[in-house]
């Protein structure tokens, strides 16, 4: 009995020593003015990308040390924004939230809730690579630096559709002329279908509506829903019934197996699947007019972080051709710098996609309302 007690005490003391040691090292690292923490979330390919970029960043300079805190989708990414807002509202300073990855619609959300003091102004003059940037974000000028684009495009099979539609009107006409050859995924299950539905509704509305969470716009959706109802009978069918697959991948699977000829799809999904060989070479992407929605994704440094210099250095690095090449190779991210600066071999995959601007959407809660109304009115049409 005594012996066991001694062992337990020893283990306990050892554990205490270890924890105090580790806590020492973290405080040391935090206070040294070198280390800063990057917060990002998303799917695994985003993580793979950042791991490479962070390693490279730490390798090529020794002024700062970047650390990555990555939150995989569906494991509390939602709470990151709540944690940030809570930290801001409780007046914290000197936190480890040095740099956050966010899409422009997320930035709008932070600004709406907390105002511009939420972020640190960036000295773009001193950023070596800032001149490379081809896009001006619609929001957050001066503190929000985009590093990649992501957008929904029309994916089509170039063997069966030699002349793809280039406007939404042409697309709707094509759908009616080719029953059963088009599909979009349920808007609640993935961004591609959601973008198709949202643009179908909002193409009838003034462009400002697309960046407003005002409830009044919900009254103006009828025309769009009528359009979706009219298109319904011409959608993909299985066993004699119209079917909207679940998930973005659901429609892409139909496209890859030639069950359909066209669908809205995330550009990066199609490109990376073509790179992996799971998507046939004949599948191409085209931007419609008016466009499906897309986002710029970038970085901003919260004002309550402790190392905004390090954060800025990393934002700068992300605009370098090297970092852009990594983003393109690891996740088929659309570059935000001129294609001529990039690895020519990688650019081959996206050559035709010189997208002049991303049609950003940020309608807050209304997105959920659209999905619910769609579930109720369109999914039940049978």
């Amino acid at each position: 009995m005594k012996k066991a007690g001694k062992i337990a005490l020893g283990l306990f003391a050892g554990a205490m020593a270890l924890t105090s040691l580790t806590s020492c090292t973290t405080t040391a690292a935090k206070g040294d003015g070198k280390t800063f923490t990057i917060w990002a979330s998303g799917s695994d390919n985003v993580k793979v990308q950042f791991e490479q970029q962070v390693a490279k960043f730490n390798e090529i300079q020794d002024e700062y040390v970047a650390e990555l805190q990555f939150i995989t989708s569906g494991t509390g990414a939602e709470s990151l924004s709540s944690r940030l807002i809570a930290a801001f509202q409780s007046g914290q300073t000197d936190t480890e939230y040095d740099l956050i990855e966010a899409s422009d619609s997320e930035i709008v959300n932070y600004l709406n809730q907390c105002g511009e003091e939420f972020f640190v102004q960036v000295d773009t003059e001193s950023m070596e690579n800032y001149g490379n940037l081809n896009y001006q974000p619609a929001v957050g000028e001066g503190y929000y630096i985009p590093y990649r684009g992501t957008t929904v495009l029309l994916a089509y099979n170039s063997e069966t559709v030699p002349n793809p539609p280039t406007t939404t009107e042409e697309l709707y006409q094509w759908i009616e002329e080719h029953p059963g050859r088009f599909a979009y995924n349920t808007p609640g299950s993935g961004g591609a279908g959601s973008s198709f539905v949202q643009t179908s509704l909002y193409n009838f509305l003034p462009e400002e509506a697309l960046t407003s969470a005002d409830e009044k716009w919900a009254n103006e959706w009828d025309q769009g829903f009528d359009l979706l109802t009219a298109l319904h009978p011409y959608m993909y069918q299985s066993a004699g019934k119209v079917v909207y697959p679940n998930k973005n991948q659901g429609t892409l699977d139909l496209l890859a197996n030639f069950e359909i000829d066209m669908c809205p799809a995330w550009a990066d999904m199609v490109i990376s699947q073509k790179m992996q060989g799971t998507m046939p070479e004949s599948i191409q992407l085209v931007q419609l007019d008016p466009a499906f929605t897309g986002n710029l994704v970038g970085f901003a440094a919260p004002s309550f972080g402790s190392n905004s210099e390090g954060a800025q250095a990393f934002m700068d690095y992300m605009l370098s051709p090297e970092a852009q090449n990594i983003a393109l190779e690891s996740m088929a991210a659309l570059p935000v710098i001129d294609f001529s600066l990039l690895d020519a071999e990688l650019v081959q995959n996206i050559e035709t996609l010189n997208i002049s601007e991303f049609r950003s959407v940020s309608i807050g809660e209304l997105g959920t309302q659209i999905n619910e109304r769609w579930d109720r009115e369109i999914a039940t049409l049978g």
């Binding site: 349920t186 609640g188 019934k241 079917v243 139909l254 197996n257 959920t368 999914a379 039940t380 049978g382």
Partner: protein, 281 residues
């Protein structure tokens, strides 16, 4: 501490960790789910709003009915086929039977998601069967994807081995001597079945049916990947409600599911408690 007292306390002490884990990961979540289900979204406070939503909305009633229909068809087919299979495995000693006896458990070791995707690859409208048919100039469109038939097929794939396992155990408890004795006094195959096999195993039919019912009423992966848009099974409905931030409604739906499962559990308990005439002395 004297040994007698130790012997009394020890079992409880040994149960403690398991009970504590149960309390944290099962009992507390159930309790909090029930509380959430009565938390009203629109009117605020506590009340039956979330439950009324399911009872008043024809869309949701269709979903519940659709779920029950799929589950009941699954139960009848899975248990029926499994029962015949269990009899075959027990009383046949052929090579085929021995091979099936070895193979039928295999599906239990394949992760659900892999199995569903495997099935989709085979039965989808551009799947393996369709491609084979095209080699012969036909173009079979099975129409099993995005349809209740496909969900039932997949459920059978999962549940037949499971039910066979349960009823196989009951079959192996039947003594050969009993069968032989009956045969000696001139009983035919059908008579042996009615008078010996069925009475000895009917309880396990109900037990398997209960388990299959409970396992399928809350299924998600299969209907999510293979089902259509409307109606949807309750698991998918709940997922959508939760995704749209209707926490109270999704909690109410889980309580409804829980009640349906509890009803089938009542049958399980009833059948198990029941004593047959020949068992009473």
């Amino acid at each position: 501490m004297d040994r007698e007292r130790q012997n009394k306390i020890l079992p409880y002490l040994m149960l403690m960790p398991a009970m504590a884990v149960m309390a944290i990961v099962v009992i507390y979540p159930i309790f909090s789910c029930i509380v959430t289900s009565f938390t009203q979204e629109e009117a605020g406070g506590f009340g039956f709003e979330n439950y009324l939503y399911f009872l008043a909305d024809p869309l949701q009633l269709t979903n519940i009915g659709y779920t029950l229909a799929i589950v009941l068809v699954t139960v009848v087919l899975a248990v029926g086929i499994a029962y015949l299979l269990a009899i075959y495995l027990r009383f046949s000693n052929s090579l085929v039977s021995r091979w099936i006896g070895k193979l039928y458990l295999l599906p239990r070791f394949i992760p659900g998601l892999v199995a569903v995707n495997g099935m989709i690859t085979i039965i989808s409208n551009s799947g393996l069967l369709n491609r084979l048919s095209r080699l012969f100039g036909a173009d079979w469109q099975l129409g099993l994807m995005y349809d209740a038939k496909g969900i039932v097929l997949m459920n059978l794939w999962f549940n037949i081995p499971f039910a066979t396992m349960l009823m196989g155990a009951a079959m192996s408890a039947i003594n050969n001597s009993e069968i032989e004795a009956a045969r000696d006094v001139g009983a035919g195959k059908l008579r042996i079945f009615w008078k010996i096999i069925l009475p000895l195993t009917y309880r396990d039919i109900f037990v398997s049916a209960t388990f299959v019912f409970m396992g399928n009423i809350s299924s998600f992966t299969t209907p999510y990947l293979m089902g259509g848009n409307h109606p949807t099974m309750m698991g998918v409905t709940m997922y959508n409600l939760y995704g749209n931030q209707h926490f109270g409604r999704s909690a109410a739906l889980s309580v409804i599911m829980f009640i349906l499962s509890a009803l089938s559990a009542v049958m399980y308990i009833y059948v198990n408690m029941r004593k047959d005439q020949w068992e009473k002395n």
